[in-house]
């Protein structure tokens, strides 16, 4: 059987890839995919914990996360398209009207 720690390490690695991808890539779509990666790494660890603890709560949480991630994708892509219609670019550096 695969021990728990392997899953946790996998989850941590995928999460870190997501964080690094979000912080370093300049493309909005890639940033978006990185966030999905982070959410799914959480799902891996939740399911692993849920199996290890023999408690159903973690798996319920995973379903909620998947549902919310879908809603998030809808909202995010809609905002992206609304922006793209006004300014045809997906590069973060060119979206610089506001100076933050």
């Amino acid at each position: 059987m695969v021990p728990l720690s392997w899953y946790i390490v996998l989850s941590a690695v995928v999460f870190s890839i997501g964080v690094i991808g979000f912080l370093t890539r300049r493309n909005l779509i890639i940033a978006f995919i990185s966030i999905e990666l982070m959410l799914n790494s959480v799902n891996i660890s939740l399911v692993a914990f849920s199996h290890y603890l023999q408690s159903i709560k973690g798996q319920i949480m995973v379903f909620l996360v998947i549902a919310v991630a879908a809603a998030e994708a809808v909202v995010g892509l809609a905002i992206l398209i609304a922006l793209f219609r006004n300014k045809p670019t997906v590069n973060v550096d060119e979206i610089n009207l506001l100076k933050g």
Binding site: G18, F49, V68, G76, I79, L83, N86, I95, L98
Partner: protein, 483 residues
């Protein structure tokens, strides 16, 4: 798991949220047939008032403990925050009716999303389980992302929305990772059971548990715009429609503080030393960056964005104390902040008319000569935000500082007072522009009855709370009993 039996009667604690969501759905349907969008605003208002009435009735039943297997509480703490959210949404509806028709964004969805966002905040305030906190937070956040970008013909609105969305989603991933680590160590997501498991499993010094705690601070820090997680705030506040800026500078912030207070006091109460030592530098940084950067701003919405960051730093002192006195002064702070901040934004909105943005500080030059009433209102709100008596802002700061001194954080209060003095510079600069400069151009104010009501309510509350604070202080203290 707490084995309180699941019965249909539990659902009564959810009635206020259900009413809000139903009225939002009704608005979405009415939107298809109704041509006059003011009707939808009125529907939203009625829904909110019915929901507030049902909250009040439920509170009279004096329910205690958590329903739905300990996931959803209806205690004084949550009801206090719920009333902040009701005040927030009612005032926002009043100030937006005329404004969004000027911005040509009279969509029915606007009011529906306001209601959805508010119900999300109410769920956050009541949640006593990490799962429910996450769901409430996402309901609130997703609605606010859309509201930020609702002026879809404007590039800056879309840009604000995408920045807010990306950083918000990034932070909620951190929240989830924190939840997952906490769940893995304690085997539960219930706040009370986490506190129990911490004792029995002796997790106090566990580095993984501490990591989970740090992830929580990151996630909630994004929501209440703590430095260094504040990068989205100025952009989102500037790009969003001004009425939404008013809405999200109060609502999501108060909801974030509600969750922060509940999670840290209820679940991580015994780790006060650890989390306060993380929050203290964050709060000092927040006050520093908020107050100092606001000085350099020329756009009043951006200035108020940095001011709201600085205010989050002050309110955080209430959490840092770790006492119920600090918590109740944080609750007061949020309520008072709602009145004075929405009032300030209402004046900003009045200056916006067809073909005139009215967002630059220079637009306020000589306003007192041409528009004496509007500028005297702005004067009161700016004094209140600075914290000058006899306005409510003074009471808010006074009680938060007093609770921090009583808890032994005198040096933090000294720092906070210094930054408070710094912040007087940029607040009073607006007053100086209005009263001591010559008017450049004629400013047309776009007033309406609804706007006048909102301004009257905010200014009267700001002054009355400033002169007679004891009722509010007592209310906040009372609502913490049994927390």
């Amino acid at each position: 798991m707490i084995l309180s039996d699941f019965n249909l009667l539990s659902i009564r604690v959810l009635v206020p949220e259900i009413i809000l969501i139903c009225s939002a759905l009704i608005i979405l349907l009415l939107n298809l047939v109704v041509k006059r969008k003011e009707t939808l605003a009125f529907t939203g208002l009625v829904g909110t008032l019915v929901s507030a009435y049902s909250s009040f009735k439920l509170y009279a039943l004096s329910l205690s403990g958590s329903e739905f297997m300990g996931m959803f509480a209806f205690d004084g703490y949550s009801i206090f925050f719920k009333f902040i959210f009701y005040i927030n949404i009612v005032l926002t509806i009043f100030i937006s009716i005329r404004y969004i028709s000027i911005e040509m964004a009279s969509f029915g969805e606007y009011y529906a999303l306001l209601l959805f966002a508010t119900s999300g905040m109410m769920i956050m305030a009541s949640a006593t389980d990490l799962m429910v906190i996450y769901l409430g937070l996402e309901l609130m956040a997703l609605s606010t992302y859309i509201l930020t970008g609702i002026l879809r013909k404007q590039v800056r609105s879309g840009e604000a929305a995408i920045k807010y969305f990306l950083l918000g989603a990034f932070s909620s991933a951190f929240l989830l990772y924190g939840i997952s680590l906490t769940y893995g160590l304690t085997g539960t997501t219930n706040l009370k059971e986490i506190a129990v498991a911490m004792e029995t499993l002796n997790l106090l010094g566990s580095p993984v548990f501490l990591l989970g705690l740090i992830f929580f601070i990151v996630a909630f820090g994004f929501k209440i715009a703590l430095v260094p997680f504040h990068m989205w705030a100025p952009d989102a506040y500037e790009g969003a429609p001004t009425s939404i800026t008013a809405f999200m500078s109060v609502g999501p912030k108060a909801a974030g503080f509600a969750v922060l207070g509940r999670v840290f006091f209820e679940a991580f109460g015994s780790m006060h030393v650890q989390w306060s030592s993380i929050l203290i530098p964050l709060s000092v940084l927040t006050m520093l960056v908020g107050s100092v950067t606001a000085i350099a701003q020329t756009n009043i919405k951006r200035m108020l964005a940095y001011s709201s960051i600085a205010h989050a730093g002050y309110a955080l002192l209430g959490i840092i104390t770790g006492t119920s006195e600090g918590l109740s002064s944080m609750m007061n702070y949020m309520l008072i902040y709602a009145f004075m901040n929405i009032g300030a934004f209402a004046v900003v909105i009045m200056l916006r008319s067809e073909g005139f943005m009215g967002e630059e500080l220079s637009d306020y030059e000589g306003l007192a000569k041409t528009r004496p009433v509007a500028s005297s209102l702005m004067l009161i709100f700016m004094f209140s935000l600075t914290g000058i008596p006899p306005t409510a802002g003074f009471i808010a700061k006074f009680y938060i500082f007093m609770s921090a001194i009583n808890a032994g954080y005198t040096y933090l209060v000294i720092i906070a007072v210094i930054f408070s003095a710094v912040s007087a510079f940029f607040y009073l600069r607006v007053v100086m522009y209005m009263y001591m400069k010559e008017p450049k151009a004629e400013v047309v104010l776009s007033t309406s009855t609804a706007m006048n009501i909102a301004l009257t309510v905010t200014v009267v509350s700001t002054l009355v709370i400033g002169v007679f604070p004891s009722a509010l202080i007592e209310l906040a203290r009372m609502s913490l009993s049994g927390f």
